[in-house]
Amino acid sequence: MAADLFPEHNLYRRNRARDLRERAIAGVLLAAALVGGLTTLGIIVALADDTFRFFSQVSIVEYLTSTQWTPLFSVQHFGIWPLVTATVLTSAIALVIAVPLGLISAIYLSEFAPSRARSILKPALEVLAGVPTVVYGFFALIVVTPVLQRLIPGMSAFNSLSAGLVMGVMIVPLVSSLSEDAMSSVPDSLREAAYGLGGTKFEVATRVVFPAATSGIVASVILALSRAFGETMVVAIAAGQNPTFTLDPTVPVMTMTSYIVQVSLGDTPYGSLSYLTIFAVGTTLFVMTFAMNVISHWVVRRFREVYD
């Protein structure tokens, strides 16, 4: 009988080996999950140590108030402001491009575009996000800057306008995609109600759907800003290596990310004060982007419009 060929059914038998194996497998999987889960902690720990060491040698007051950043010169100043303003400047320019283009694209794709057009254009925009940033950096320096130099007298070869413009286009898919998702999740019943009242497509899109998706759209803008803050290669290549405290988009500036790259390219001895500076700057950058990410999630959670 078939029964003989199977191990005997015995409910009381507890297969110890199998139990152990199952538990071991679960343990290994948990360990893998913890690697992912603890990376943020790892980042904090990795940054914290050398950051503290930095601030034991440099006063935090100077760091936060001085407007001169010359850690690699013989006369060292450690004011973070030149780097921060450069980051803010390039990011602001980027957002001036990315937000309008991104939002208009999003509204168009979500409310106006026929589905065939959408299925081509949406992935096409995603391609923009897939291009390596070093390529955009090249483009900014080698192609865009010369054009700008012809348009704007006095524009220097390294400047934040060029980098900001290219970064802006690079970030359009981020704004567009997230905003579009937010608008897509607005239920159709709202649209139908508005159409039923005699609204045109434009009115429905701008006065009903867009406001209804506000929390998601705001979050996408904040995330775009965070992304711009963290961008490295475009600014490292095209924006310059001069830590100038300025808001002039035509002159070379150095962002926080640029600085870290510059030091890494050099031969800064490990443990020296100059070496420690990249950690202080890194921590500043991390704290800023982390705060922005958290805020964007909070915005979504707090202000999410709930539809039944």
């Binding site: 690697v35 992912g36 390596p132 090249f138």
Partner: protein, 301 residues
């Protein structure tokens, strides 16, 4: 309003005076605007690609692909960069894929809703928003220094593995979620253990999604420059790495290096390197798209 308000709808009709012409045309204007925005953004990309191809194509030859970098543009090539990119990518995936898939399996199949699960999940999705250069600092401190790996390709791969880990985890989680629970029920009802069910049934069905995630991760890894510069990948490398502890460079860094030089020939070389880089990415993503079509069309074996 001075006049008395009429009491019938017909009477009130004159209070509504929409400018139908304007209202109607706004939609049309917006469609134009919308398309223009998209075309503008895409147009920049197209222009970029064209420029790069025009500049770089003349320099693309066998010699370019098989020479090391050099101070003389005519002799410079991307051999070291290609070798470094290839090796680093393979190592990155070898590290990130198992860990990412295992982590995703844990989160989707094993973990019960608890603070730990939420903690891990939130952390992983948060990681996607961390600037890539921060990963470089992490790698520098922990892998290069504390683990004593030096500025080796191994340290680079470990750093990149952490960077792309969230991509793989999220893609795998989605793939696992797409497997219908009826399959799991059927397997468990036959007396299979959880791990047997996952290994024999859930994972095989999730493979296309996992592969897609893998390719996405690889695309990301190939194009990253900043973290590798930070951990000390070199910009001038006249050799190919012979062991995982060797110093190295990658294609994006080589491009960065050449772009930063003042001579125009090096810019053209950079363009040639970009063409190669984009070609590789295009190939990989095409494969991913094909895979996704295949997966969507049913998994009959």
């Amino acid at each position: 309003m001075a006049a008395e308000q009429p009491t019938t709808a017909a009477g009130r009709a004159h209070l509504f005076r929409p400018n139908q012409v304007l209202r109607g045309s706004l939609g049309g204007i917006f469609i134009v605007l919308g398309l223009a925005s998209i075309v503008l953004a895409l147009g920049m990309l197209v222009y970029l690609v064209l420029d790069v191809v025009l500049r770089g194509a003349p320099w693309l030859d066998w010699q370019f692909l098989t020479s090391f970098d050099s101070r003389f543009p005519a002799r410079a090539g991307i051999l070291a960069a290609l070798a470094g990119t290839g090796l680093m990518m393979a190592m990155t995936l070898a590290l990130a894929l198992p860990i990412g898939v295992m982590a995703a399996i844990y989160l989707e199949e094993y973990a019960r809703e608890s603070w730990l699960k939420s903690f891990i999940q939130i952390n992983i999705s948060n990681l996607a928003g961390v600037p890539s250069i921060i990963y470089g600092l992490l790698g520098l401190t922990i892998f290069v220094r504390q683990l004593g790996l030096g500025r080796s390709i191994l340290a680079g791969a470990m750093t990149m593995a952490l960077l792309v880990l969230p991509v793989i985890v999220v893609a795998t989680q989605e793939a696992l979620r797409a497997v219908p629970s009826s399959i799991r029920d059927a397997s468990l009802a036959l007396g299979a253990t959880k791990s047997q069910t996952i290994w024999h049934h859930v994972l095989p069905q999730a493979v296309p999604g996992i592969l897609t995630g893998n390719i996405l991760a690889a695309s990301r890894a190939i194009g990253e420059t900043a973290p590798l510069v930070t951990i000390g990948a070199l910009t001038f490398v006249p050799f190919t790495p012979q062991s995982i502890m060797d110093r190295f460079t990658v294609l994006p860094i080589q491009i960065f290096n050449w772009t930063s030089k003042p001579q125009a020939e090096f810019h053209d070389l950079a363009a040639a390197g970009i063409v190669v880089l984009l070609a590789v990415l295009l190939t990989m993503n095409s494969i991913a798209i094909v895979l996704r079509q295949r997966a969507g069309g049913g998994r009959r074996r």
